[in-house]
Subunit: 377 residues, 2 copies
Amino acid sequence: MNLDQLTTPALVLDRRLLAANSRRMAAHLGRFGVPLRPHVKTVKSAAALEAAFGGLPKAITVSTLAEAEYFFAAGIADILYAVGIAPAKLDAVARLMAAGADMKIILDSAEAAQMTAERGRALGVRFPALIEIDCDGHRAGLKPGDPAIVAVGRLLAGDAGTALAGVLTHAGASYDCRSDAALVAMAEQERAAVATAAAALRGAGLACPIVSMGSTPTALFARNLDGVTEVRAGVYLLQDLVMAGIGVCRPEDIALSVLTTVIGHNRDKGWIVTDGGWMALSRDRGTAAQPVDQGYGLVADRAGRILPGLRVEAANQEHGILAARAGATLDPDRFPIGTRLRILPNHACATGAQHRHYHVVDRGEAVVAVWERMGGW
Amino acid sequence: MNLDQLTTPALVLDRRLLAANSRRMAAHLGRFGVPLRPHVKTVKSAAALEAAFGGLPKAITVSTLAEAEYFFAAGIADILYAVGIAPAKLDAVARLMAAGADMKIILDSAEAAQMTAERGRALGVRFPALIEIDCDGHRAGLKPGDPAIVAVGRLLAGDAGTALAGVLTHAGASYDCRSDAALVAMAEQERAAVATAAAALRGAGLACPIVSMGSTPTALFARNLDGVTEVRAGVYLLQDLVMAGIGVCRPEDIALSVLTTVIGHNRDKGWIVTDGGWMALSRDRGTAAQPVDQGYGLVADRAGRILPGLRVEAANQEHGILAARAGATLDPDRFPIGTRLRILPNHACATGAQHRHYHVVDRGEAVVAVWERMGGW
C-alpha cells in the first residue's frame, strides 16, 4: 500500500521525522539531566509513542482520563493528569489507582483541595495532587508568591484523603513569543515560577517531590532547569506550523500531514479545490495571529516536499481551497484532478484529533503501518 | 441517568428542539410542494435522523462516502454525494450501486466528466452525475451562463460510463448575509442559478431530472422555488450560533450543546475555568466575523437556560475560559467548582464532529437515550 491508494483525506505520519523530533528533545534535556514526561495529548497513540521513544516511556502527562485509561492499559503506570481535577472525576482516578496506576492530579485552590480530600476519605484513597502554578497569566494556577500555595499544600499534606505531590506550571504564553530571546526568557520565567513555589512549600516544612514545568517552546529553549525535576512537552513530537512560526522548528520537521486529492479548479479565482476541508484539517487557525499566516495549512506534494508558493486559503467541511500566496503564481494545470497533495497543519493536536488512524511512512510514499489514535473523554 | 452523572465534556442533544427544527423546515417547504433532501453531514447519526423525521427519510445528501455507506446500511437508498468526485472514489461509489444504493455524484468540469466516464466504462457502470453550478463565487461549480454546462451535459448523457442526473448548487455565501432581505435575495439568486442551468441543458435537448439547491439560510428564506425539484439543508436540524447570528433561528432553538464542569476560577481576571476546551467545542470561531462575537460559545445552565452575560472567551485543548461580556458582570461564587454548564456551539457541524455520542434529553436533565455518531472517510 502506498499514499496513492489511500482513501482521502487521510492522516499521514512520517516515522523518521517523529523519531528525529524525539531525539532532538532528548538531546536538549539530556544536557541538564532533567527527565522528560511527554504529554501524550498530541499523539494519542501507544504505537506512535513507542516509535518515538524506541519503547514506551515510563512516565507520561495526559489531558483526559480517557488517555490515562488507554495508556495505562498499554503498559504505562506513572501518569500525571494535567488538567485541574473536576470532583466527579475522582472516582475514575481512584479506579485507575486501584488497578495499579501511579496517578497524580492537579488543582489550584483550597476549594478543590477540600473537595478532593473529602472524596479521598470517602473512598479510602489518598489522591496525590500537584498544586498548579500560574507562571504567565495564561490560564489557571496560583501566582508563585501567593500565600495560598502553602495553605493548599498544608491542606493536601495534612489530610487522609490527599497527598502533596509537588508543583506544576505550563507557560502557554510561550506560543505568543516572537524571538529566541523571548522564548529563553519565557522558559526562565516558567522555571522560576515553579522553583519559587516549591521553595515556599519546603520553607513551610512541606515535602515537594515533583517540580514540573513545560511546553514545547520553553522545553526546547530552556537554558537553566535548576530546581526542576521534570519537563513536560507534547507537540514537539509531531511539530506544526505554529511551532515553525515561533522558530521552534522548521516546516521540514513537521511529521504530520493530511493527504488530500484535487477535485476541481476555479480558474477565474486561481483556486485548486481539494477534498481536504476543515473536517480533515481542523478549524485551527493558530498561524492567523503570527507574522506569516499559513491559512489552513502549507501544501506539499505527495512525497512531502513543500510547495512554498501555495497555502490552503479557505476550508469548508469537506472542501479545501488552495491558492497562491501574495507574490506567487499558480498554474492549475500542474495540479490536474486526482493529484494528491499533503497539507502540513497549523496545530498538530487539533488536526490529529480529526482522525482515528495514522498512515505511517518512512520519508517515502509507502505506507509501512497503520496506527490507531484514541479520542474522547 | 441524568446530566449530573455524565463524564464531562459530553455532547447533549435536545430531542424536542431537534423535532421542532425539523417541523419548521417541513412546514416552510411544504408551502412550495418541494421535497427536502436533508444533508446528514451535520447530525451523522441514523437515530437522530429518525427522531427528527419520525422515521428515516427516503433521500439524503452526504458529504463523505463513509456517510453514504453508513446511511445506506441503515436503510436509506437514495443518496446524493455532494462533494466534487475524486476519480479514486468511483470504485466505492460503484460498490454502493452494486449493493442497491441509488447513488448520485457531482462534478463541474469536462476533465472530471471524462475521468468518471472512463472509470464507469471500465467498471461496466453508468455513474449518475449532477453538474455543480456556482451561484455565488463561493467555492466550486460552473457559472449559470457558462456554455461548458451544456458541453459537460452532453458528455455525461452521451457516454456509456455516465448519466446526466441534473444540476445542483449551494449558496455558501448565504452565511455572510446580514439581513432577512439579503437572505431572501440570496435564495432567489441560488434558485435562478440552477433553474438557468437546467433550462440551458433542456434547451440543448438534454434531460435534467434533478434541479437541486440549498443551504439552511436559503432554504428557510426562499420565497419562490420555481423550477427546483429538491432542497438540501442540514444544519437547520440542530441550529447554532452562526445561524442565530444571521437571523435564521434564535439561540433558544439550538438543539446541541456541550456539557462541561467548572474546575477552577481566576478571580483576578474574572474567569471561570471549565473542562470544556476546543477538543470538545471545536476550533470553529464562525461568529468572530458576525456583529455579535460569541467567542467559543454561549453559556447555559444545566437545564439549558442561557446565561446571557457570559461567553466562552478562550479555549485550550481541554480548558474553556468563561468570562463576562463587555458591560456584564460575573460573580464567580455563583459557579463553584463542580458546577455543570452547557455551551451552545458556534457551528453544530464542527462541534458535533468532536464527539462520538449524543446524550439525548427531552428539554429536561434526564438522559433518555445515547445515540452514536459516525465520522471519518
